[in-house]
Symmetry: D2
Subunit: 134 residues, 4 copies
């Protein structure tokens, strides 16, 4: 069981969203943040780095937005939906843009393929959590 | 001149938003992130900490969202408006919620008054930058 | 296989540390960052929050230090050992302090027990990686 | 007066370090974090980006370490010196490495010159705060 899930299961109060959905989202956000950080660094090691500048920029943005969203959702999503919902929407938009760009380099670079996958999973998880906290 | 402004003035390319507006926004975001981090810690030192739990939570959220937004806007706002715009909107919403809550404690706690001011300035700056990158 | 490991396996170059050790460390850091963020929030929901102020502060510090260390190690630990080593040492010290404090509340609060465990695992992983990059 | 200073002046308790020194350090850390984030992005816009890969990596590391150190010191440096001291030392080491690398590109790129200056100021501030909390 992931630590995100264990932490949710030991939460002293109830929360407004299904714990399983919340844990899945937090795990997807954590993975995406780290994959994007790593992918930006991997891109910097490639010979064709000049072709990858947009990918690097978007990975850096996506890592930052996902990291903030991990923190906010770890404080129990839905608690302040005024805060959580627009952030999840921004995170979905960012991971979509980043995933699209990584996908363009997926055949050339395996690390971009893995990162694109992490972005897609993150984007889906954000949308599902937004729908659940409506 | 702030470092944010100096960095913008030495940027090797043009960007789509007025440099002065962008520098003002970045400075407001930096200040708000730090003020919220400090305010959450100050609240924890107060005797009436149980009255301040919502304030602490929102300050922590606001600090995280502002920190991500500093980073993304420092990579030149407007570059990928699909990313920047929803994030600025999320940041405006978060600093509004946080500023409202800090304001409630402003008479009792000077640090909440200062933090509320930083949140208001941040919220305004985010709205102005969103309008400019439309 | 974790995303950290998948990203390392698709890295276009060699790195100076065993990939399995590096992936384990990155995963332990990610888990600890998130567990500490969640534990601080859980503490804020407890009735005895005044008893948990030190725990909250250390969890917030530990979450911030771990998040930075995830990012730096995801850019391939050992690359710039002048940067990576002192940061891993700081992260080990922080997760030790935080783990000790969480442990004190472990019998009373299950979320503190889980968080203490995440801190111990993180502390060990940091020490092992420091030893490997010597 | 900076927000960091205003927040310190409204702190409800005493702290173990001179407020003026602490505020100066926090401001230097904030500036360095943002300058490094911007410099990494500026480097990515340069034609000779392949010459700047080490600079970009170190700027990204330095931004992450400074951001964590802003947060920890904003929770009142010296409170838990087991946490604060090693982190400030790691931050001094990182901003030294980053400042050295930025300096190498300072004549060619004005943004690297400004960033090197922000790194030097941050490095000095970290050393002074470490000395004060001994």
């Amino acid at each position: 069981m992931s630590y995100a899930r264990q932490m949710l299961d030991s939460y002293p109060s109830t929360f407004k969203v299904d714990a399983s959905l919340l844990a899945t989202t937090i795990d997807a956000l954590k993975d995406c943040a780290q994959a994007c950080t790593a992918d930006a660094a991997d891109d910097l090691s490639e010979r064709d780095v000049t072709e990858l500048v947009k990918c690097i920029r978007l990975c850096l943005d996506c890592a930052d937005v996902c990291a903030a969203t991990v923190a906010v959702t770890s404080r129990q999503a839905g608690y302040y939906s005024d805060v959580t919902k627009p952030l999840l929407e921004a995170c979905a938009a960012t991971s979509k843009s980043c995933g699209d760009e990584c996908q363009r380099h997926a055949q050339m670079h395996e690390h971009c393929r893995v990162c694109a996958e992490a972005c897609r999973r993150c984007e889906r998880a954000c949308h599902e959590l937004v729908a659940a906290i409506k």
